[in-house]
Symmetry: C2
Subunit: 347 residues, 2 copies
Amino acid sequence: MKAVTLQDLADTLGVARSTVSRALRDDPQISPDTRRHVRRLARDLGYHPNAAARALTRRHSGVVGVALPRSAPFVFANPYFATLLEGIASVAEDAGVPILFSASPSPDYERWLREGRVDGLIALGYGLHAHDLARLEVLAGGSAAIALVGAPARVTELPTVTVDEAPGIAAACDRLADAGHRDVALVTGPVNAAYARARADMWRASTEAAGMAVVDTAHGDDTQAGGAAAARRLLELGPVADAWLFGNDAMAFGALGALQTAGVRVPTDVAVVGFDDVPPAALLGLTTVHQPIRALGEHAMRLVVAALRGDPAPGHAFSTHLEERRTTRSAPSAPAVPSHGATEDVT
Amino acid sequence: MKAVTLQDLADTLGVARSTVSRALRDDPQISPDTRRHVRRLARDLGYHPNAAARALTRRHSGVVGVALPRSAPFVFANPYFATLLEGIASVAEDAGVPILFSASPSPDYERWLREGRVDGLIALGYGLHAHDLARLEVLAGGSAAIALVGAPARVTELPTVTVDEAPGIAAACDRLADAGHRDVALVTGPVNAAYARARADMWRASTEAAGMAVVDTAHGDDTQAGGAAAARRLLELGPVADAWLFGNDAMAFGALGALQTAGVRVPTDVAVVGFDDVPPAALLGLTTVHQPIRALGEHAMRLVVAALRGDPAPGHAFSTHLEERRTTRSAPSAPAVPSHGATEDVT
DNA sequence: TTGTAAGCGTTATCAA
DNA sequence: TTGATAACGCTTACAA
């Protein structure tokens, strides 16, 4: 059961193990003959280089860490993360990079880096404490390949993949106003999360810019259950708002369920707009602000892979657009063409 | 930027590095004093043991591999896998085990094991070639901690987590028959996949046992798009079957969309039953056979963790039940109570 | 073109 | 209770 080692090959071949090592790694200065012999024996004996020994001498592991600072149930119950991972994993697959994964409220990514378990890292920028951000910056200075998804609270030189929420949100509000809405309700994400507050502020600003007013506000927790609860609270307030805006799709899903059991018709009685455009949104016909989640993940992993090679690569800001479906009334006027894709380089 | 090593600590403390090593690992035979000193310095200097060096001497990495033999887009677009990963990741999180993840049609799990990158592995049993299965069995004999999700084509002594599809499928067919259905259509998964054929056979058997007949069959590819395409083909055949059974939920979702655009009412004109009960099924009100996907993942990871500790642990067969929702007509009679959870030990 | 030998950072054995 | 020292399996100058 013992694994075959370089020394084993060397012994049975009667050469030095450095020769074997070189032959296996296509070292230019090795005779074609010995190379052939070595490789054949390696195949026959089922030799596989020991990853730990190799990492120890090479000073890097070739692994990239992906640590999401949420519990596993939260991560996978939320299609946002699943879609992000899809992007990350598909680029990793193409690059042949194994991913060390963890979903935990208190992620070990710094430890992973310091222990040399991973050479690179994808972390979530939003919700990253200034304190942790600073430590990541130090590590990046020391040759760690780090990329952030979502902008952290303060500016950073770490390559960051972000999204400009404004175009999609503005389009949504304009469309709502065109369809005759005036009073809207807003269901935000966690009040103590900066990104959720920023999103809510943006909804508010665009609502007013479109000539409407936010007459009710409820706070959710970005989950479906939280959205349903928020919807019930809104319903108790009476039918003042006839358009509901959500901090994310998951909450909108929950609200749609609550609305249905309450017998409120969508979009006749109230229009519903989500944010994210995760896959189930299309299934449910939810009108929502689309952000290219998968592309975010792909780009983040590309940044890390580039950094691993020592190539500096800039961050990137993606755009958003409105995806109109069945939870909003159609406006009298013809719809504008949605804008997809990328915009400007950043950082 | 150089990392702090054991030797560094030993030097500044004026002791041997073996002493430092012991102090850091709570070796019983070490003086409380030196232990304190060592630990304090380690903290102050930000010492982190090098994972590669440690793995090299300890002969194990503490990492568990999860390799899904599908491309990343396929894996994450299918909530089945996301839910499975949820279960796997949450147990891993509790156990403090990092996960090495890969989604690729040709997974490297054997290489991971042989290179010593991982000590354990969760692999998919269905679709596993006899050839690969045999190699995994050899590795398991050599101290690798392996668990399978889903039974492979032939019996194996590897601990396996499976699901008994019969109860849920039988319940679905009985309920359909009670509601007055006689002619059903069947949409299967990939014809070249053994598990999909087995599922289809089970649907057929239960259909007949319930006194109904499969009058149409379409083959899908387990994706939403494939389900929509299959639905369109079925629609062209004319309205002979008024109950449609699916190999999985994803295809049922696609079909629901196709049915809606075709103006066919569900469940009035046709009843729809899925399989899996992935999260979006509840959102859409899809009647479906529930299998405890999350529990499968949890249990598989528990098996691996147990094997890592050297404790043998048996495989397990979970059960299925019918989750009745809005895509089937309610039967005249009162519904039976659904059976949840576990049944019998296996292997 | 190949061999020798030092080193990567730990752990473990054996003495002291 | 602590210190030397030899592994662990691989890479890489430096020699030959």
